[in-house]
């Protein structure tokens, strides 16, 4: 087939769900590719999804220079501390607090909850991550 394969139905449904949320939400596929984030997430990150397009999630998250806030001291966040990476690699929910620098240069404190998506046949489809502004 010349046409790109249809995204898994669960991702299509997740995207529609996220599109209608005022909570910042992103979706990545099972290969760790960012496939969508909503307008609320764009307000946090500083760029609409349409301008970014589908990119590797790690590359995209690294661009915000995430820092962990252990004991309220900001340290660079290793990839293995990122909830999105944990949800992708270990396929379990994860939560963490970070300091990020948005594209508009504004420093923001956010909490991120990420969880894996499994389809009907226990098939791993990708992840959803929700940002909570603190």
């Amino acid at each position: 087939m010349d046409t790109p394969r249809q995204k898994h139905l669960v991702l299509i449904l997740a995207r529609e769900f996220a599109s209608n949320l005022s909570t910042p939400t992103l979706i990545a596929d099972e290969g760790g590719r960012l496939v969508f984030y909503n307008e609320a997430a764009a307000a946090v990150t500083g760029t609409p999804f349409a301008e970014i397009g589908e990119v590797p999630l790690d590359e995209w998250t690294a661009s915000f220079v995430p820092r962990t806030l252990d004991d309220d001291v900001a340290d660079p966040a290793p990839a293995e501390r990122r909830p999105t990476r944990i949800a992708l690699d270990e396929r379990r929910p994860s939560h963490e607090r970070f300091l990020i620098t948005s594209r508009d240069g504004v420093e923001r404190e956010v909490e991120i909850s990420a969880f894996p998506l499994f389809a009907h046949a226990d098939e791993f489809i990708g992840i959803v991550a929700i940002f909570w502004r603190t």
């Binding site: 046409t3 790109p4 995204k7 139905l9 046949a121 098939e123």
Partner: protein, 282 residues
């Protein structure tokens, strides 16, 4: 490829004088294969009963039955499918997988009291149950692909290719549930790669637009959405399928006329599916 429609009514079989022209049997479509002793059948609505009688007459030995989903109108004819009661027949039933209950177990429910007196284990044919694979597979020179599509419960659409001809079968489908169809790229459109550039698209068109407004989320399409969908996926010919049970022949013809008005200039005119219709795809 020769495609024969044995049933195209949605939801409930509707025999009667008001449905004579387009038929009252529920979903069942036969697709020809290169081996005349093998049959490829899509869905087991009540239309499969008459098909079964003909298959026995033809001396068919192997039937591949591909189920889009297990709602009753796509399964209720299986118990009266003559090849199932013929010990010389091998029947492979393909259906959407579930992590909880096997395909066999789900279908066996309809072969048990109080719904039916004879247990599935007692049917004479050699029956096997197969989860539909995520990747394309082949049956006697025909290539099949399936994707989960928008409809309540696990439901797939089928793409069937043979010798350069492509049939897309999406009998129960509500792509507009997740937003305007025309604003989606094909990869974000439910069934987008199944229906892409198909020679013939059999697609749900159960409702007029005003009827659909009260039935959003029921898993079916308005005629407007069916026409828009066919345009977006580049289907060459749209066959309107899964007719609303309350719709008689004359009401169906009004729906068909509306579809023709909605079709873009230069595109082939949509047609209404009817029992006995044979589509030759080259």
């Amino acid at each position: 490829m020769r495609v024969t429609i044995w049933g195209c009514r949605g939801s409930l079989a509707t025999p009667g004088v008001e449905t004579v022209r387009y038929g009252g049997n529920t979903s069942c479509v036969e697709v020809s294969t290169s081996d005349e002793r093998t049959a490829l059948v899509l869905d087991a609505g009540t239309g499969i009963r008459r098909l079964g009688l003909e298959l026995v007459e033809r001396g068919i030995e192997h039937v591949h039955l591909c189920l889009t989903h297990l709602h009753l109108d796509h399964l209720e004819g299986l118990r009266f499918f003559a090849p199932l009661w013929d010990e010389r027949v091998t029947l492979d039933v393909w259906g959407p997988p579930s992590p909880v209950v096997t395909l066999r177990e789900r279908i066996a429910r309809s072969f048990s009291p109080p719904l039916f007196p004879i247990d599935l284990r007692r049917v004479p044919a050699r029956v096997s149950f197969r989860d539909i694979p995520r990747e394309p597979w082949a049956i006697d020179g025909v290539t099949l692909s399936a994707e989960l599509v928008m409809h309540p419960g696990p439901t797939v659409g089928f793409r069937i290719e043979e010798g350069g001809a492509t049939l897309a079968y999406l009998p129960d489908h509500e792509p507009a549930l997740v937003g305007p169809i025309a604003e989606r790229t094909r990869d974000w459109l439910s069934g987008g790669s199944i229906a892409a550039d198909a020679d013939v698209l059999l697609h749900d068109a159960q409702y007029f637009a005003d009827e659909y407004d009260d039935r959003i989320g029921w898993g079916h399409s308005s005629v407007e959405d069916a026409v828009t969908y066919a345009h977006m996926v580049g289907a060459r010919r749209l066959v309107l399928f899964h007719h609303e049970p309350d719709r008689g022949d004359s009401s169906l013809e009004r729906l068909g006329a509306q579809a023709r008005l909605l079709a873009a200039e230069g595109e082939s005119e949509p047609v209404l599916a009817r029992e006995g219709m044979v589509l030759e795809l080259a």
